[in-house]
């Protein structure tokens, strides 16, 4: 080992970790007993140190699970709200069935009741049963790089909201009388949209695999298979490994869509500076 040098900072640090002040103070004191007056200073400092340690510990414990705890709470909250929404939906369906029943009872005239049911089936608010087709479409499995074993980020075979729109439109075009996506009945005002990578049918999320069921004439499956839409998706199967299949199904039952909220016409509130010709009401 080389001889210690005075300007060797790190060496000094390692060799002599104790504050030299202690030795200096002891040398100054000599053999006299340590003064007792400084005792309270130490007590205060130790109090502060203990407090500091506890605060730091508390801070760390609080911060680490804080984020995951918040997430868990949110997840639980979402679950609870979903359950409430489902319950309410079920209750709405029950009440709707009761209303329909009462209406049918009230309409002594069988013809108008049947007409009403037909209209409800046509608009999508009434439950319908019958034979039809089920179009099953699913995302392509993620491409796995054979060398690295990692999945590739880009997957061209993901089903988009447009794809579901095209399939639904293709089914309507092929003569379908009622269409549902993953059990969500489509109505005249129904929407298929994407929000943040999730496809929403009437603002309720649906996930892959998607099943578009339709009730229609007996040759619905053949007509849809022959349509340009179906051909395009069959090409997607080859090109992007998307999964796509059309099957005939007997005794399909499509639940009615939630009744759209009624909108009431209102006279616009008179505005003081209204144009004589009357501008748009909204």
């Amino acid at each position: 080992m080389t001889s210690p040098r005075r300007d060797d900072l790190l060496g000094e640090l390692f060799r002599n970790p104790l504050d030299p002040g202690y030795a200096a103070a002891a040398a100054r004191r000599g053999d006299a007993p340590p003064p007792r007056s400084g005792r309270w200073l130490t007590v205060v400092a130790m109090l502060a140190i203990g407090f500091l340690l506890a605060v730091a510990y508390h801070q760390v414990v609080q911060a680490a699970p804080g984020t995951s705890k918040a997430r868990d709470d949110l997840v639980a909250d979402v679950r609870a709200r979903q359950k409430t929404a489902d319950d309410l939906q079920r209750r709405a369906a029950e009440l709707r069935a009761q209303v329909d029943q009462a209406r049918d009872d009230a309409l002594a005239d069988g013809d108008s009741a049947a007409r009403l049911r037909d209209l409800a089936a046509g608009t999508g608010t009434g439950k319908v049963t019958g034979d039809g087709v089920a179009v099953r479409i699913a995302d392509a499995p993620p491409q796995v790089d054979p060398v690295t074993g990692r999945t590739q980020d880009e997957n061209l075979g993901v089903v988009l909201d447009r794809d579901l729109q095209d399939i639904a439109n293709g089914l309507w075009q092929s003569g379908a009388e009622a269409v549902a996506v993953n059990g969500q009945r489509l109505t005249a005002t129904g929407t298929i949209r994407a929000a943040g990578g999730v496809i929403l049918v009437d603002f309720r999320p649906v996930t892959s695999p998607y099943e578009v069921t339709a009730i229609g004439p007996p040759d619905l499956a053949d007509r849809f298979n022959a349509s340009a839409t179906a051909k395009r998706f069959k090409r997607y199967v080859d090109e992007y490994r998307m999964q796509f299949g059309v099957k005939k199904r007997a005794n399909l039952a499509l639940a009615g869509a939630a009744e759209p909220p009624l909108k009431y016409a209102r006279t616009p509130a008179p505005t003081p500076s209204s144009t004589p010709s009357g501008g748009p009401t909204r």
Binding site: P17, G21, P34, V43, V44, I49, L52, L53, V55
Partner: protein, 110 residues
Amino acid sequence: MIAVIALAIGVAAGVFLEPSVPLGLQPYLPIAVVAALDAVFGALRAKLDGIFDDKQFVVSFVSNVLVAALIVYLGDKLGVGGQLSTGVVVVLGVRIFGNVAAIRRHLFRA
């Protein structure tokens, strides 16, 4: 002995009062903890060496915390807060290890 009791009371106060640390002070907390630990272990070793001094302990604790906080503050302003924090932790950590080794030699003669 009275110092240990004071430490325990301080910890208890910290646990029961559950103070919230202001956001601006949060980066200094870990550094302050390391500086405080350095002062405590230094004091313990001095005690075992028989050269403990109250004034020296209090001054070393306060100055350790202040200097460490100053270095982190300067580092934050200069954009090298992380590196300077690491430096503080390394230096104080070396000292803590050295003092703990001395304490260990005192207590276990090994």
